[in-house]
């Protein structure tokens, strides 16, 4: 299936971010196009997570702007980002530990559920219809991610790898146009990584979702992404296709001996 890479979806323009005296990001610019899989790589502490946090409104940059779907903005509240169609997962799994898998993913549908308090109190009628419609949607995601067996398990009890999958499911439930994944494979073994790769590729192909990925496993990055940028100490040191980056001396220097392939 040919992935049709479309127009510019997200534009990052001259973003600079600092915390007190520490400069997390310095003058970063890049574009992301519709339907592509884009990776942000770099050594630890390079500012990759901060970059994602800026894109979805959690951090507010001191300088620069973000373009998303034609809208310029310097600052966006995280809630707005969600409404605009940006979803993300986190390095340290930000799931709702007290709720089950099903409820966590259903929570991702909250944006789309509109029935008011009165019908909610009654349950029978429009509220139940909406609940069932969204339940079906969520069940499709559950099937897709192969997590049927843990539907009712409180996510706090799940192993780390499954938690990351549930978190992906919750992000998908938001029906996002842009999906930001922060180290989705961290802590996984080979089989789990293969499953995750499969899911990410399927999400991109079937749903047409644009994906931005932070990942340390170079093999995964090279296989999944069409383009990537490399950050080091908060600055962009390279941008291009996997092949171009592979041979880039600056990138190799930055990593200083970190293995490039698995």
């Amino acid at each position: 299936m040919e992935r049709k890479i479309g127009e510019k979806l997200l534009g990052v323009e001259h973003i600079s971010l600092s915390f007190g005296g520490v400069k997390a990001l310095t003058d970063i610019s890049f574009d992301i196009r519709e339907k592509e899989v884009f990776a942000i790589i770099g050594p630890n502490g390079a500012g990759k997570t901060s970059m994602l946090n800026v894109i979805n409104g959690f951090y507010h940059p001191q300088q620069g702007e973000i373009h998303f779907k034609g809208l310029h903005r310097k600052q966006m509240r995280p809630h707005e980002a969600a409404v605009q169609g940006i979803a993300r997962t986190f390095q340290n799994v930000a799931l709702f530990k007290g709720m089950s898998t099903l409820n966590n993913i259903m929570a991702g549908r909250n944006l789309k559920m509109k029935t008011n308090l009165f019908w909610q109190a009654l349950y029978y009628g429009p509220a139940r219809k909406e609940e069932m419609k969204n339940r079906e949607y969520v069940e499709d995601i559950i099937d897709f991610l192969e997590i049927q067996a843990i539907r009712r398990t409180p996510v706090g009890k799940l192993p780390y790898g499954l938690q990351k999958r549930v978190e992906l499911g919750r992000a998908l439930a938001m029906d996002p146009e842009l999906l930001l994944l922060d180290e989705p494979m961290a802590g996984m073994n080979i089989e789990e990584k293969q499953d995750m790769c499969r899911f990410i590729l399927d999400i991109n192909e079937q749903y047409g979702t644009t994906i931005v990925l932070i990942e340390h496993d170079m093999g995964v990055v090279m296989d999944l992404s069409e383009r990537l940028i490399v950050l080091d100490y908060g600055q962009k040191i390279a941008e291009g296709t996997p092949d171009e980056i592979r041979g880039n001396q600056a990138v190799i220097d930055a990593y200083l001996g970190v293995a490039h392939t698995n």
Partner: protein, 311 residues
């Protein structure tokens, strides 16, 4: 309108105003002492121990109870400290330690439960009737000094209370800030593992904490008991420590002092000058409203640490 009138009253009779401020100051210093008890435990264990309030009452009751049983005042003092030490030790070992990994809200509720238990237990042992603090036996003064032709009356016990409380607070601040043990305590509060790895003995720290909290509870109990009776109504006063802690932050000694004074003086002025206009007795809630007001501008309190949430 009539709510502006009080400002003029203050200017009209500055001696009266001074009297009110003095009363507020005394109350405020005592609030600070109570608050400090909370701060100490919070710094040492990260737990907000609601039961500190009841500890103060317990200390006072134990002291009075021992004296009634025939023990002389100056023997009863160290005996009470010993009792409080054992109490603090038991609370930490039995309750706080078992809840080590639970969210803060659970810990807080457990200490509320503990408070109820100690109220029942205390009433069971000591009986529920109010008692008199043994101020004379402790050689505390009970006269008054007057200034300005008897217009400004300062109770000697209040002066004594303020001096003792202020000295205690200064001593404690210095202890925590300058001595080896004090610094070790702060290290433990920050990170148990790290503290252990640089050789801090946790047990020593805990002994110090229990001892200190017992002493503070006793001093506070004596001072409060001297001003009003010793009864379980005192634990309501301990609730007042909460607005103080909100203003001052849970981890700052300076904050406890400043917070206590703001609340103490603010309350007294509010009650005296405005209370009558709205029906009186607004001291019950004024402190909380003051705290709430400040919280709007600084949700972490005046001296508290800014809570940075990382995702």
């Amino acid at each position: 309108m009539i709510f502006i009138q009080p400002f003029f009253d203050m200017v009209d009779d500055p001696v009266l105003f001074l009297q009110v401020i003095w009363e507020g100051f005394v109350t405020g210093i005592l609030y600070s002492l109570i608050a400090f008890g909370f701060v100490l435990i919070f710094k040492a264990s990260g737990v907000f121990n609601f039961a500190q309030g009841i500890m103060v009452v317990f200390a006072a009751l134990t002291l009075v109870g021992l004296h009634e049983a025939g023990v002389s005042a100056f023997v009863a003092l160290p005996a009470t400290i010993l009792v409080m030490y054992v109490l603090a030790f038991s609370v930490e070992r039995l309750v706080l330690r078992s809840l080590v990994n639970q969210p803060d809200i659970i810990l807080f509720m457990a200490t509320i439960g503990l408070t109820f238990f100690l109220i029942g237990f205390g009433e069971f042992i000591f009986g529920g009737e109010p008692k008199m603090m043994i101020t004379e036996e402790l050689l505390l003064p009970y006269d008054s000094i007057t200034f300005f032709d008897d217009m400004l009356i300062l109770q000697e016990i209040d002066i004594a209370a303020s001096i003792i409380a202020a000295l205690s607070l200064v001593f404690l601040a210095l202890f925590l800030g300058k001595t080896k043990i004090g610094i070790a305590l702060r290290a433990v509060a920050d990170d148990h593992q790290a503290a252990l790895s640089v050789g801090v003995s946790l047990n020593t720290i805990w002994v110090v904490v229990w001892f200190l909290s017992g002493v503070i509870a006793l001093i506070t109990g004596i001072m409060w008991g001297a001003k009003s009776d010793v009864s379980f109504a005192l634990s309501i006063i301990a609730l007042k420590a909460l607005p103080v802690l909100i203003l001052g932050g849970f981890t700052s000694v300076r904050g406890a002092i400043v917070g206590g004074l703001i609340i103490g003086i603010g309350e007294k002025i509010g009650e005296f000058y405005w209370g009558g206009l709205v029906g009186g007795s607004i001291e019950g809630w004024l402190a909380y409203m003051i705290a709430l007001f400040f919280l709007f501008f600084r949700p972490q309190g005046l001296f508290g640490e800014k809570i940075i949430e990382r995702v």
